[in-house]
Amino acid sequence: MSDAFRKKGARTNIFRRLPMMKRVTGLSLIFLLVFPLYAYAGIPLDTVKGHINQVLDVLRDPALKGEPKKKLKKDKIRTISEKMFDFDELSRRTLGPNWTKFNPGQQKEFTDLYKSILEDAYVDKIVTYTDEKVSYNKEIPLTEKTTEVQTIIVTKKADIPINYRVILKEGAWRVYDVVIEGVSLISNYRSQFKEILMNKPPDGLLDTLRKKVGKA
């Protein structure tokens, strides 16, 4: 009892002997030590929300209205999607066990082609949005490193539930799957790629994708 008390006193003395600036630093240290404990709560949702808001800002930007500005608009959205999505993780999970059949060069090419297919398909759709509202429902932890952020796009015609699955890597939450009305994007592509890879080698699939990208 008295021992603990003495320790406590000693620590205070050291603390009090320090100049003011150092005391502030000490407080900041405590701040930093406590902060990471809860830093992740709500972060996945906020990250997704932040990116979606950036996209919405681009869509609503009056300076980007009209047909001639469409390309600029799409480029801006692509830049945001680079930050929002983890295309490596997305590609890896899409191919599943087939990923290991690709050599590193093929994996890289696959990721790039797959990314442009997704962007071509969805950016066109996104730029048609105007008055849609997004409501952020909740985040549901999947594992220690993955979380599902549930949103609903409210349009005049219908409410579309869209869930973003995010993974924590290097301190950032990035999207690796999008689930629309229960349909997982990566599962959907996985079923298609699987069928192709049953009959063709990895390069055959890459060739199919090259054609698709060239066409789009």
Partner: protein
């Protein structure tokens, strides 16, 4: 006195940071595990630890980077009548692009969107028995009750179901339930994949469900038969007019549209059965 003063800001800081931490706990697994790591193992009560396990368990398969396990999660469906299905897929595709879409386009130019939405509400309200019985068969008494409330309220306050007043006034939303889902709930599998002309993707189980739905839909009892079909066709055109572009996009995004649609169908149905 002076010595205690230094503890006050520290104490406040700690409370400030720990309180949200405690509240946020339930929503973030990371928080939880980080906290658990810091604590002495003996101090952790058994209860929260168990919670972590249950939270992570349902999705465990999916997130482990073990590809074989992840792959198992893929929903598959038998497709023994593939030649028929593929032919019907092409038939429906052509039917959409050559007939349904142009008609829906023309219809949407003369009919304002608001009217088309109201029309959809009307047909949706009419089909209440399908959702009501579908819910009842799944023993979802509350959902069945909600459907009943929605029907009564929307038919009166919503003027013959033209407005979805139950949603806007009480936030009682429509839940898509049908007989096929009820069968799924009882553990009956899809059987195999079937593509029907005009109707589109289905399965053996859902086809049986569709037959049940047919008898629950008041439109089926309209006499003569031609009028009944006419109403159905109008409903279809109206619905399509509100969805022009969706199918095109799906096709555009897909590498193999047939497989993409088949997979989307079973994933979507699975979600509805699970809910």
């Amino acid at each position: 006195m002076k010595q205690t003063r230094i503890y006050i800001p520290i104490f406040i800081l700690c409370v400030f940071f720990l309180v949200p931490h405690v509240y946020a706990d339930s929503s973030s697994p990371v928080t939880k595990t980080l906290e658990t790591e810091k604590k002495d193992p003996a101090e952790i009560p058994a209860q929260p630890k168990q919670e972590i396990v249950t939270l992570a368990e349902p999705q465990k398969k999916e997130v482990e980077n073990d590809f074989t396990e992840e792959d198992e999660k893929v929903l598959t469906i038998a497709d023994p009548i593939y030649p028929w299905n593929k032919a019907m897929y092409h038939f429906n595709d052509k039917f959409y692009f050559w007939i349904l879409k142009p008609v829906a386009r023309g219809y949407s130019t003369v009919m304002p969107e608001d009217i088309r939405i109201v029309t959809r509400n009307f047909f949706s309200n009419l089909a209440t028995p399908v959702r009501f019985v579908g819910s009842l068969l799944q023993l979802r008494i509350k959902d069945a009750g909600n459907e009943l409330v929605r029907f009564v309220y929307n038919s009166t306050a919503g003027v013959l179901g033209l407005a979805d007043a139950a949603k806007s006034d009480f936030n009682i939303v429509r839940r898509d339930e049908d007989i096929g889902q009820a069968l799924g709930k009882y553990g009956i599998g899809h059987g195999f994949y079937i593509v029907w002309p005009f109707i589109g993707p289905s399965s053996l189980r859902d086809t049986i469900g569709l037959a049940g739905d047919y008898f629950l839909d008041p439109v089926s009892y309209v006499n003569p038969m031609e009028a009944s079909f006419g109403i159905r066709a109008y409903d279809e055109v109206n619905e399509t007019s509100l969805r022009i572009g969706d199918y095109e996009e799906l096709k555009k995004a897909a590498i193999d549209p047939y497989i993409s649609i088949r997979d989307a169908y079973i994933q979507n149905r699975q979600k509805k059965v699970d809910e």
